[in-house]
């Protein structure tokens, strides 16, 4: 029933397409241009675009670089423009207007991709070299080859200034992207995601509490469908996205069809995931009472497994000059490294382009995804009954295996028995999502282009949790069943109008105006039952509870932009975006976000060229200033709401104790950035450098209200924070020969967010962080705060009597005393970097090695705290006390000293290693393929770190904004290897 409208839509659409395709072309005096496009070594460049400049007449090159372009009605002057990704474009004026013409081209490497056309910062195709603010792009192949099913996780290490973390190793598990660090405290810090012009949701709804971590919805995208990704990191570049752009914007472009023969890409891979690090367990032969222990168990053996992964995708593309299509489908499976967890995702995408008239083009993007993840609780910020959580919470001299006769598992010591959880508990999540976009590009005359775009993102996220009757959780003997659903509907509509004024000497002017309408509705329902009916697996029990909540908002935006360029020397951009949102208070409805940018190419100045000589081939300096915003959290937070208040069996309402605020406005960032792009040594070395300074004001925080008013708090634009940093990208073509080439790319970024103002109540703890994560003026957002060791003047740790607890030989002989609470660390990394080396041998063998590093970060190793807590004592450290190497009571005292558990979380990971062999021509011919390759790849193969937990990269807080660096039973990120075959027909 549900699919009927789509089916109907496609039937009509296809019928329409066929009619137009069959329409015979009229034959006139025509020009045929053909030739071959190659790189500096003479290798043919496939997929290069060949275009008559200023028109839409064009084609792309074949596998060997050859092309043939037919110009039906040549209107001189004709200029042939040839572009290929990673190469500088070239223009060839054509003198002939009829007959066959040959035009070959040898393109030169563009080391920093400055001539790439991008759209996200200015909403009109602009060369990167013209932008005042940095914009990063990542090629789709780099995402598909990363060997991780989540698109955002695949960006790790590929963009300077983007810190990408997989927060959990759970299959399908969530990732965080922080562009230039934090810009908010109470809001999501994830960037705004746009796919082919459609604003898509990237929520991390924790509908069922599984301990902290959740998946995020950008994981629904198939990496194989991606053509390229554009990333704008801050307000200076993202001001046109107005009140949703404080965390930057990530725009994803999916593959589109190209005129020519049908192309088929088949890609299949199989692999395995396993655990990189095991924690050493207590093997003491006595217990705390001094009695012998019969056996100690290491339940990591029962909890972890080696999981199989597979991915198969098929992409078909083709079309003629008027109609092109891309059809992609894939199936991804992943078994978790925690037993009984897995993930299955099926994607299908159809992208169509149709030239309706010479001046009018219609494009559609449609994608459907369905996924199912079988999850298990882990972590323990709220729910502490998870698997790894109870590996920590059960003393390892307890036999947790099921009774061989009755099959009954022993009760958990505190919260549950992890083996029973694995055997009987279930927590599936099912996603069903449709995204569709439709775009009309009209060019009534060449200088004017009008784009209209409408996009829909519609999904259902169904999460449930089932704990059977008689479970091993002492407090859930009656069982617990929860079923929660989130229905999300997002819609956006854009109009972009661009006018290119006639040139005036060397001056060029481009004006743009546009509008943007967004509507979002999230409807969530939850049903919960306890004391379950016997032998029933749904929500039925003697205690039942149901609830629903709806969040709906609308945003109307409008922008105007003026670009001004003088030759290739100078480009200036000024723009302003206005936003009105239903979530802003009535008194602050209309908000304005201006931006300015300038780009100056010094190498266009003759004096500089003479000075720089051959060392500097190109030097561009750029700068920008921009403002952007972040929406208030709840759509209805501005209102003084009246909430349900029962009196006995009667139903009433009273004012919510959170007072409304009709003065609520968006959080507001102001960012300046300056930088340069330099090409050195004949284009063999490129450097990009950016310095940014960001200040965010109007941070929305709860502010206490005089309680005698009958309210207790109000959301108010009261906080502020500052952040600044540097970003460097260095790329070098070390060796460029036909037989061997080697290139290196280094990214490095720093940032340093500091809260400068909070509400009048002063410092506060973040909920669900065990009162250890805190926000205070003058400190990093979400720093660790807690008890310290008591020390003497010499800095030695002392006991309650003031004597050092270590003797002269370094043996611990005393019990540490608890010192005052203090700032213990900062979980926001101060710097992060990556080094990628790529080698090719004889064009057939390619090796890519990427190392990622994070530095200047502190982590809270809560796992270790529980492991050495005497009540459980699963960790190897606790054996020291049992076997008398430290005094009795040492660990009982130490567990109250949080300083002990804040560790340096810096790490280096061997993030990606991939060896690809492009099969020789003879073999490819036997396969009847155009080309074929085989890849062996590894991801996260090794971690170098001083952190003593499972994984320094995971975070029990999941995608939460300021609960970072919290290590409490988070599923570690697996070590993955995969073997894949890629065939092109």
């Amino acid at each position: 029933m549900l699919m009927m409208p789509f089916r109907e839509f496609f039937r009509v659409a296809f019928a329409g397409l066929l009619t137009v395709v069959a329409f015979p072309a009229l034959l006139h005096a025509q020009l045929t241009v053909s030739g071959r496009v190659t790189d500096e070594t003479g290798r043919g460049l496939p997929s290069a675009s060949v275009l008559i400049d200023g028109t839409r007449i064009g084609t792309v090159t074949e596998e060997d670089g050859s092309y043939r372009l037919v110009v039906a009605e040549p209107a001189p002057p004709l200029v042939l423009l040839i572009r290929a990704f990673g190469y500088k474009p070239q223009r060839f004026p054509l003198s002939a207007t009829t007959g066959p013409v040959t035009q070959n081209a040898q393109l030169v490497r563009d080391i920093l991709n400055l001539s790439q056309l991008v759209i996200t910062a200015t909403r009109v195709e602009t060369e990167r070299a013209s932008l005042g603010a940095a914009l990063a792009t990542v090629e789709g192949s780099n995402i598909a080859n990363a060997g991780v099913p989540q698109v955002d996780a695949a960006l790790a290490g590929k963009v300077p200034g983007a810190l990408v973390q997989l927060n959990s190793g759970t299959p399908g598990g969530g990732s965080s992207v922080r562009l230039r660090g934090l810009s908010t405290i109470s809001r999501s810090a994830e960037p705004l995601y746009i796919v082919d012009g459609v604003i898509v949701d990237n929520g991390s709804s924790q509908l069922v509490d599984l301990g902290g971590n959740t998946s995020n919805r950008i994981a629904d995208l198939d990496p194989n469908d991606i053509e390229r990704v554009e990333i704008v990191k801050g307000a200076a570049a993202a001001a046109l996205y107005g009140s949703r752009a404080n965390n930057g914007v990530v725009q994803i472009f999916t593959k589109r069809g190209r005129a020519g023969a049908l192309r088929v890409n088949v890609r299949t891979s199989v692999g395995q995931d396993d655990l990189e690090t095991r924690l050493p367990v207590n093997q003491a032969s006595v217990n705390a009472a001094g009695a012998p222990v019969a056996q100690r168990f290491d339940y990591q053996d029962q909890i972890f497994q080696t999981g199989l992964t597979s991915n198969t995708s098929v992409g078909l593309s083709g079309g003629d000059n008027n109609t092109q299509f891309y059809l992609g489908g894939s199936v991804q499976t992943q078994e978790g490294i925690v037993r009984t967890t897995d993930y299955l995702r099926q994607n299908i995408r159809l992208n169509l382009d149709r030239q309706i008239a010479p001046w009018l083009k219609l494009s559609t993007s449609t994608a459907y995804v369905t996924s199912r993840a079988n999850r298990q609780a882990s972590g323990g910020l709220v729910n502490n009954r998870g698997v790894l959580t109870n590996f920590l919470f059960n003393s390892n001299d307890r036999n947790l295996f099921a009774d061989p006769v009755t099959g009954v598992f022993p009760l958990g010591q505190l919260a549950s028995n992890p083996l029973e959880v694995l055997a009987n508990w279930k927590a599936p999540q099912e996603i069903s999502r449709f995204t569709g976009g439709l775009q009309l590009n009209a060019t009534p005359f060449e200088a004017l282009s009008i784009d209209y775009r409408v996009g829909i993102d519609n999904y259902t996220d169904a999460q449930s949790s089932f704990v059977p009757r008689g479970s091993s959780a002492p407090d859930l003997q009656g069982g617990l069943a929860i079923s929660a659903n989130l229905r999300a509907r997002l819609l956006n509509q854009d109009v972009d109008v661009t006018y290119r004024w006639p040139t005036f000497g060397n001056w060029r002017f481009v004006s743009g105006v546009g509008s943007n309408y967004q509507q979002q509705k999230f409807n969530s329902t939850l049903a919960r039952a306890e004391n379950l009916a016997l032998l029933v697996n749904t929500v039925q029990g003697s205690t039942q509870f149901a609830s629903q909540s709806i969040d709906e908002r609308r945003i109307i935006g409008f922008y105007g932009q003026q670009q001004l360029a003088y030759g290739n020397l100078l480009t200036l951009t000024a723009a302003v975006r206005s936003d009105a949102s239903s979530a802003f208070g009535e008194d602050e409805r209309q908000q304005y976000f201006p931006k300015f940018g300038a780009s100056l190419d010094l190498t266009e100045v003759e004096g500089f060229r003479n000075f720089a000589g051959s060392l500097v081939n190109r030097l561009r300096i750029r700068g920008g200033l921009g403002y952007s915003g972040e929406q208030p959290p709840g759509s209805f937070d501005r209102l003084s709401n009246y909430v349900f208040e029962p009196a006995g069996s009667l139903s009433g309402v009273v004012n919510s104790t959170r007072q409304g605020n009709e003065g609520l406005r968006p959080e507001r960032a102001r960012e300046t950035e300056f930088g340069f792009d330099a090409e050195l040594f004949n284009g063999r070395v490129g450097i990009e450098y950016t310095r940014f300074d960001r200040s965010v004001t109007d941070l929305i925080l709860p502010q206490t209200v005089t309680p005698s008013s009958g309210f207790t708090e109000q959301l108010t634009n009261v906080g502020s924070l500052e952040n600044s940093g540097n970003e460097v990208l260095l790329r070098s073509f070390n060796v460029q020969r036909e037989a061997f080439s080697w290139s290196t790319t280094v990214t490095y970024a720093t940032n340093n967010p500091v809260v400068t103002q909070v509400a009048s109540g002063g410092a506060f703890f973040i909920p669900e962080s065990f009162n250890i994560i805190r926000v205070a003026a003058g400190q990093a957002p979400g720093h660790f705060w807690g008890t310290t060791y008591r020390r003497n003047d010499a800095g030695q740790i002392i006991n309650a009597a003031g004597a050092p607890i270590e003797d002269a030989n370094g043996n611990i002989t005393g019990i540490p005393a608890i010192g005052p609470a203090a700032v213990l660390g900062n979980p926001n990394p101060k710097n992060y970097w990556s080094v990628t080396n790529e080698f090719t041998v004889k064009r057939s063998l390619a090796l890519r090695v990427q190392l990622d590093g994070v530095g200047g970060v502190d982590l809270f190793n809560f796992d270790r705290r529980v492991l050495e807590t005497p009540f459980f004592g699963v960790g190897a450290a606790y054996a020291d006390e049992l076997e008398g190497r430290v005094p009795r009571g040492y660990f009982a005292a130490r567990r109250s000293i949080f300083e002990e558990y804040i560790e340096d979380g810096s790490f280096v990971k061997l993030r990606e290693i991939a060896l690809t062999w492009t099969l020789p021509g003879s073999f490819v011919e036997q396969l009847r393929a155009r080309n074929a390759s085989i890849t062996i790849s590894g991801r996260n193969l090794n971690t170098w770190t001083d952190y003593t937990g499972w994984d320094p990269e995971t975070n029990t807080g999941g995608q939460r904004t300021v609960v970072r660096g919290f290590g409490f039973a988070a599923v570690p990120i697996p070590r993955s290897i995969a073997f894949s075959v890629n065939l092109n027909y």
Binding site: L491, Q493, S582
Partner: protein, 429 residues
């Protein structure tokens, strides 16, 4: 295509309209004032009969919720209750431990000081909203008078309760910076409000719609008003008035708040669910043999508590839905006894206090045993400890019977949040 502006933003309606057209919002309206489906808004509640009715119910719900703090805080301060363990940091600050080393400072940042204060001002706010909005909506006269009387009564209760815990309190909360009045003025305000409630009901008795649909079952509003008049008149030292008010309540009249599954008793939560509090064991050990109230109120086994006190479990508040008395005949009888004694009508006073003793299974005290005013008052105070156990009145009792110095503190500190927003807040005692 409809472009409706249900409530155009004041300044930018035109700009918004132009943008709506420009954005081509074909698929949905451009109205930026989306109604909140999860909660009612001010306009819904304060200007409609249904909203005012629901608010009248909500007011009683707030009273039911505030009962937790209003019982255990005075109970701890006046040595009626004890905390069950030392880890209850904010709670244990209210208790006067025999072991002085266990005392923790009772400070203005204490979250329960704030909660006690806030919850009662939330009652005041809702009552004020009802009184302000009832003029503008059409209700049956008896329903309107019932709601008005309820609002006066609940507001009086809030001031009467706050006035026994803080030295000065605001009684007019129209702004964010209310001025403070002393205890006597606060109690007079409470008594004025109660007499307004009484006049309202006398002029127009509450309708059956009010009594059956809006008033929680178990509440006898006209007699609740009289009983609370007696209670606060006694606290205000107006003994003749207290006696008259108590006599206005017919024998057998009573009121209780009946909790329900959806509206669980906060007393069940702190006494039984969380087991935060128990009774001081002295209540049991010092009880007279044969007192039937003791076995109903207290468990037999004393347990050592934190800080040197000994406590016994509380047996009432055993279920989530157990009703809570708003006034009892015992309270009225003891009000009469106390007022008579203070008026030096000792014979009548003795009769009243003996009525309570006999009802509790004890023998009547002789004239010789209760020969002086002081002896009668001591006996009244003693009976109040048992008959009015966990009523939240123990602290006021210490003050009336001249034992204020036995309390943990003379007055609670003003919540820090009040001070940070309201410059009129007096210095802490």
């Amino acid at each position: 295509m409809t472009t409706t502006f249900a409530r155009p933003a004041r300044r930018s309606a035109l700009a918004m309209g132009m943008m709506c057209v420009a954005s081509g919002a074909l698929l949905a309206g451009c109205n930026l004032d989306i109604a909140n489906p999860n909660a009612a808004t001010e306009v819904n509640v304060l200007t409609t009969p249904a909203g005012v009715r629901a608010l009248a119910v909500g007011l009683q719900g707030r009273w039911g919720n505030a009962r937790g703090d209003a019982v255990w805080i005075p109970g701890l301060v006046a040595n009626e209750l004890g905390v069950t363990n030392g880890s209850l940091a904010p709670q244990r600050a209210f208790q006067n431990f025999p072991d002085a080393g266990a005392l923790t400072p009772l400070e203005d940042v204490n979250v329960d000081v704030l909660n006690f204060w806030s919850r009662h001002y939330q009652i005041v706010r809702t009552a004020d909203e009802l009184l302000a909005s009832i003029e503008g909506v059409t209700l049956a006269p008896g329903t309107a008078s019932g709601i008005r009387a309820l609002a006066f009564t609940m507001k009086a209760y809030a001031f009467g309760t706050l006035a026994e815990a803080w030295q000065q309190i605001p009684v007019d909360i129209t702004g964010l910076q209310s001025t403070f009045v002393d205890r006597a003025t606060a109690l007079n305000t409470a008594l004025d409000l109660l007499s307004q409630a009484r006049q309202t009901l006398d002029a127009t008795p509450a309708s059956s719609e009010f009594n059956s649909q809006l008033l929680t079952p178990g509440v006898d509003l006209p007699n609740l008003v009289r009983a609370w008049q007696a209670r606060y008149a006694l606290n205000a030292g107006r003994n003749d008035q207290a006696l008259a008010f108590a006599n206005d309540v017919p024998a057998g009249a009573t009121s209780e708040y009946r909790y329900a599954t959806a509206d669980q008793s906060p007393l069940w939560s702190v006494f039984t669910g969380l087991r935060y509090f128990a009774a001081q064991a002295s209540l049991r050990t010092e009880a007279e043999a044969g007192d039937t109230r003791v076995a109903r109120l207290f468990g037999p086994t004393p347990q050592p508590s934190f800080g040197g006190s000994s406590i016994v479990p509380v047996l009432i508040f055993a279920t989530q839905t157990e009703a809570y008395p708003m006034f009892t005949q015992d309270e009225l009888t003891l009000i009469r006894a106390e007022a008579l004694a203070r008026l030096n009508r000792l014979g009548e006073a003795r009769t009243s206090v003996n009525a309570v003793r006999v009802a509790a299974g004890l023998d009547a005290r002789s004239e010789a045993q209760l020969a002086t005013q002081a002896a009668v008052l001591t006996e009244v105070a003693r009976q109040r400890r048992y008959s009015l156990f966990a009523s939240g009145l123990a602290w006021a009792d210490l003050r009336r019977f001249g034992n204020a110095s036995q309390a943990r503190v003379n007055w609670l500190p003003y919540p820090l949040n009040e001070r940070s927003g309201n410059p009129n807040t007096p210095p802490n005692p």
